[in-house]
Amino acid sequence: MQTWDMDLEELKEEETSLPGSKLKTELLTVNMGPQHPATHGVLRVEIKTDSEVVAQAIPHIGYLHRCMEKHCEAIDYRGILPFVDRLDYLASMSQELTYSMAVEKMLGTEVPRRATVIRMIISEMQRIASHLMAFGTYALDLGAFSPFLYAFDEREKILTLFEDISGARLLYNYFWIGGVWNDLTDKNVEYIKEFLDNFEPELVKYDRLVSQNRIFQERTMGVGTLSLADAHSFGATGPVLRGSGSAWDLRKVDPYLFYNEVEFDVPVGEGQRGSEIGDCYNRYYVRMLEMVESVKIIRQSLKLLEPGPTLGKVSKVIKIPKGETYTRTECPRGELGIHLVSHGEKTPYRLKVKSPCFTHTSILPHIAPGQMIADFVASIGSIDIVLGEVDR
């Protein structure tokens, strides 16, 4: 069960002595990373290989550890927002949402209706941007270059919108405690509508270009299979859990914002197109289907937009009464949780971030043994990690 605990001596005898041969072979240790294009950041995986097959994979993390949790103990509640941005830098808006929701829950702040709808639209746009990045880089990992360019073309349009409303392209600081910083103008709304109209045909194009591609299917189907029971036991969430066949989505199960007022489906990996439930293809395909759902949600949320204020009443100096909370939301990569402990001061007593990427990285040693090295690259890409969030 626990592959990292595997006795390598035993393994050597069993796996490496070729039948009918007196020749003995040894396991070779290869370091993948920390500077490696396929590890999506500074992840180092120590791989023990038997020829081209991975016998054991040990991830080493911490290269991007920035002591975020320790820093937060000395910074006031508003000052933490930019730090939260830098966790998962490909989905900053979603991270800000979780943190502001945690603080608002403790303060009992009421967020104006318009601000909540804007939050919903923007965080779904962020989900599309993040999934596009996952899609593009995943194809790149598997040797296809052009999908990356198509994905970045569309992602660029979303970043242009974010730049327009927040002034920044990657780390926004746009969701403030109590609402959002800037209002969406009519021009922005038109821009979003136009984007969605153009984006839907693009999705069909991606489907034909990559999802139905024979080479891509051969590379991902039946590779890196994670069973549902293991996914639960690892605490996997997001596309990784849904790819393993569970319809768990926090937006549906425990609706926050106005997710209970819009209609959408939860895509689940069902072994589409002859794949195996829980393999790389399913995790990838769930992301592609989620983008379709996000488009649906944004279209419906745009109709919910009514004129009104965008920032609720929050005192100038935020002091949270004594207490603690655990708030979680559905981010593009899984559930992000914030465990916030307050002692009635201007700074949190403790802020712990439950990072979905950290959880998902711990799955790697479990699915690696027995894979070819090239398939292992496909497995890393399919769980879609961002090291900023793994190391914090």
Binding site: Q2, S233, F234, G235, A247, S342, F358, T359, S362
Partner: protein, 202 residues
């Protein structure tokens, strides 16, 4: 899901606590809920010696471990386990806490044989707060280097001065501007603050 939020789900908590107490002797499970002036979520406090037994009892009820978090309250170190049942039909989650009085060598039994997620979560708890876990398959630091000294998230943590012959936080690389800004702000010296900001071209 809202069940563990305070006030709305106290009944569910009381049921859970009585079933833990009847299933595990010495569990001493009790409810922690926010007081008059306090806010937030409730949780269940259990005896640290019987954490493994409590988790074995809860495993069939909650199929996933989300995170293990720890807080140093100086008198004791608190370790929080966030369990969830990842079933769309019957979602529920709970916060289980335990308190360790011994700051020199806080110890708990590992639950990595129950939940696969516990392996890395316990390693992080050890790395950050110095809580050791008995019977852990791979008891190492995870985010800090293996030979780092001290546990960063303890309240009395002091950064080591030298690491592998390198000075940690050398004078010439410290950021003094933030400190200057804070000093001036505390003095309420706005004129100085503005002059300082102008000199920096802000």
């Amino acid at each position: 899901m809202k069940e563990y939020c305070m006030r709305s789900g106290l009944e569910m908590y009381n049921d859970l606590i009585s079933s833990i107490n009847s299933a595990v002797t010495n569990a001493n499970a009790s409810l922690i809920s926010p007081g008059e002036e306090e806010v937030g979520d409730s949780s269940v406090l259990v005896n640290p010696e019987s954490i493994f037994e409590v988790m074995s009892f809860l495993k069939p009820l909650y199929n996933g471990l989300q995170v293990i978090s720890g807080v140093d309250y100086t008198e004791y170190i608190e370790v929080c386990y966030f369990l969830a049942h990842f079933d769309p039909e019957n979602p529920k989650d709970v916060m289980i806490k335990t308190r360790l009085k011994d700051r020199q060598d806080p110890r708990l039994n590992s639950i990595s044989s129950l939940y696969l997620a516990a392996n890395w979560q316990e390693r992080e708890c050890y790395d950050m707060l110095g809580v050791s876990f008995n019977n852990h398959p791979d008891h190492r630091r995870i985010l800090c280097p293996d030979d780092w000294e001290g546990f960063p998230l303890r309240r009395d943590y002091k950064v080591q001065e030298v690491y592998r012959g390198m000075k940690v936080n050398p004078e010439n690389k410290m950021n003094r501007d933030d400190q200057l800004f804070e000093d001036n702000k505390q003095k309420g010296n706005e004129a100085d603050l503005i002059a300082w900001a102008l000199s920096k071209g802000l």
